[in-house]
């Protein structure tokens, strides 16, 4: 870490940590050491500036290096939360409001044998959980900040061979307040045993006006032959920021199907590092992002092919409007042993205004000789001929544009495995388009 290049954290971080550390889960003992070490490192390294390669296109300090209070318990209406319930009537869900589990609305009781879903604030009593938390140490500032300040989160374990028959939803609600900007540092640990299967739905909702800053760290491990379907919808609002860092490890013949949509918020950073650690691991990562107004979405994906015969496919689509800015930095590293790798990456973009911007940066690093890799990025505007065709059939210009934008982004949205998430994503996409009101018919069919 080169502290010179970074911004020293504002005093509020120091004050908040020293006043609050012992009140945090495990802060009265078993986790205090880790929290202190990580905080010291964070304070020393500072908040990344744009001179740091990983943050080249994103000014995170603007949002992160400001005085914020740690999110506390707030009362929130059932209907505000239930609007984000996904996964159908069989789903189990754990709900976090400002980083704290909401026991009233969560429903994870009566789980079948071999499926364990724990609240992280409780689970830190378990030494093994503390070890897992400590084990993720990438030396990055926001990971350290999360370790120092994590309030809660979930620990999900599925035993060998167990196929979880219902979707499991993790709903994170960031509730704004007029009084102060708040920050939340949830952590998610997911471990699937050998041959286990899980459909995980991750939903990020921003509720009420005010500035919220969520700094999520996820550690996801797929055992050999395990399968994870991961649907993630982020629906932000003007003052919301989501930084999400996922570290994912895939065992032999395991399978990941991930689809995510980043819809709104001042800043969304979607950083995923995928380690294909076993042969024949197979990962598909789909993403849609649609910054408009002054929103900013930064996707930083890195896939490490470490073993032979693995397959990975990144498929990201961006729609930038207004002064919106999108970033797609997709990196594929094929390590020396990873012969017969198939690794693909596509990033297609629509720029709908002259002031919108996309920075698409593919990076291939290949150290094996027998590999199939490809990457492609495109950037365009809506097709005039298609627009005219729709309008010539009576569809007004705004609706016609919305239809074409959805036709573009929908290719990703349609990949959500969960119907509820798909519909919710469509609603949010339509609400963000000038002529989107005319598209509601799509939700009927």
């Amino acid at each position: 870490m080169n502290a010179v290049r970074n911004h020293p954290p504002v005093q509020a971080f120091h004050d908040l940590f020293s006043a609050g550390k012992t009140g945090l889960p495990g802060g009265d003992g078993p986790l205090l050491g880790l929290r202190e070490t990580r905080f010291a490192r964070f304070a020393d390294a500072g908040i990344p500036s744009q001179r740091t390669e990983a943050w080249k296109f994103t000014n995170v300090a603007r949002h992160a290096n400001v005085p914020m209070a740690l999110g506390g318990h707030v009362q929130i209406g059932a209907s505000e939360l239930s609007a984000f319930f996904c996964g159908g009537h069989l789903a189990r869900r754990m709900i976090f409001v400002n980083g704290h589990v909401s026991r009233d609305f969560s429903h994870v009781r009566g789980l079948p044998e071999g499926v364990s879903v724990r609240v992280l604030a409780d689970a830190v009593d378990d030494g093994e959980v503390r070890e897992r938390i400590a084990a993720f140490d990438d030396g990055r500032s926001f990971t350290d900040l999360n370790a120092a300040l994590m309030q809660s989160g979930a620990v999900i374990d599925v035993a060998d061979g167990v196929h979880v028959a219902f979707p499991l939803q993790m709903l994170f609600a960031a509730v704004g307040s007029q009084r102060a900007a708040t920050m939340n540092h949830p952590r998610l640990l997911v471990r699937l045993g050998r041959g286990a299967k899980l459909h995980l739905i991750e939903t990020h909702a921003a509720l009420q006006d005010g500035s919220t800053f969520t700094n999520l760290v996820s550690q996801i491990e797929l055992g050999d032959e395990a399968e994870l379907i991961h649907d993630r919808l982020q629906a932000g609002r003007d003052g919301s920021v989501l930084l999400s860092k996922a570290d994912m490890r895939l065992g032999e013949r395991s399978r990941l199907r991930q689809t995510l949509a980043s819809l709104g918020g001042a800043l969304v950073r979607n950083e995923s590092t995928l380690h294909l650690d076993g042969t024949f691991a197979d990962a598909v990562m789909n993403g849609a992002f649609m910054p408009t107004a002054r929103e900013h979405v930064d996707n930083a994906i890195c896939v490490h092919h470490r073993q032979p015969d693995c397959h990975s496919d990144q498929f990201y689509k961006g729609v930038m409007d207004g002064y919106g800015r999108g970033v797609f930095a997709g990196r594929i590293v094929v390590h020396e042993d990873a012969q017969r790798t198939n690794a693909f990456q596509t990033n297609n973009n629509l720029l709908l205004s002259d002031d919108a911007e996309i920075d698409s940066k593919p990076e291939l690093e290949i150290y094996a000789d027998d590999v199939k890799c490809s990457h492609g990025a495109t950037c365009g505007d809506l097709d005039e001929q298609s627009l005219f065709y729709l309008r010539s059939r009576g569809i007004d210009a705004d609706t016609a544009r919305s239809i074409l934008v959805y036709a573009f982004a929908g290719e990703v949205i349609e990949r959500f495995a969960d119907e509820g998430t798909r519909r919710l994503a469509m609603q949010h996409v339509f609400a963000r388009l000038a002529g989107g009101g005319g598209l509601s018919g799509m939700l009927e069919g």
């Binding site: 005219f388 309008r391 010539s392 059939r393 009576g394 569809i395 239809i403 959805y406 799509m442």
Partner: protein, 251 residues
Amino acid sequence: MLKIDNLEVAVEGGDDTILKGLTLEVKPGEVHAIMGPNGSGKSTLAYVLAGRDGYEVRGGSVTFGDEDLLELEPEERAAAGLFLAMQYPVEIPGVANNYFLRQAMNAIRQARGEKDIPAGEFIKKLKEKAALVGVREELLKRDVNSGFSGGEKKRNEILQMAMLEPKLCILDETDSGLDIDALRTVADGVNALRDPSRSMVVITHYQRLLDHIVPDVVHVLANGRIRRTGGKELAQELENSGYEGILGEAA
């Protein structure tokens, strides 16, 4: 119904005019055929009537009903009852054909102050019209024109026309790309729409279509103007002597 007076059109920013003082009147219930050599301006006329960008009207006027057509947006023209079956229908990946049709239908109904068509009624009508013009049900679920064969695209245009029930149908080379049987089916579909209050402008190169859709008037468009106008026998005459013969005689 449609009155075109001395219309002059150029490609936006271009020097040459494509339509050079074209005059044409279509009365309610009439079917007019427009024939003419490649590049004579037939599609340009059709697009200008439908309101496509990229053309510059440099003179003349177009009245549709009692409205100045050239003042209207494309969607307003559709709502007013104008429909263009395009020579090259556009593929729109990601938009389902049946969804598109319902969206179009409701847009036109809304513009006219009518209620949306109930879902059940729409499906019934869609199936009925699809059968009439020979569009397979599978194509209704596919994306608009995406991967459709040339003939399937043309049928899809006529299906849209049958669903939207316009007052003025402009068919730009709907027959090209159709096999002999398809030509008959499509022509039957068009004929089923013939009505004393509905007019048609049929652009074609071939007499064969006009055997099925019998026109009241035939025009020859060349070099941006109507050079000859006659009855349906003019098409036959053209078939026999070609444009050179006919236009040479006219000149």
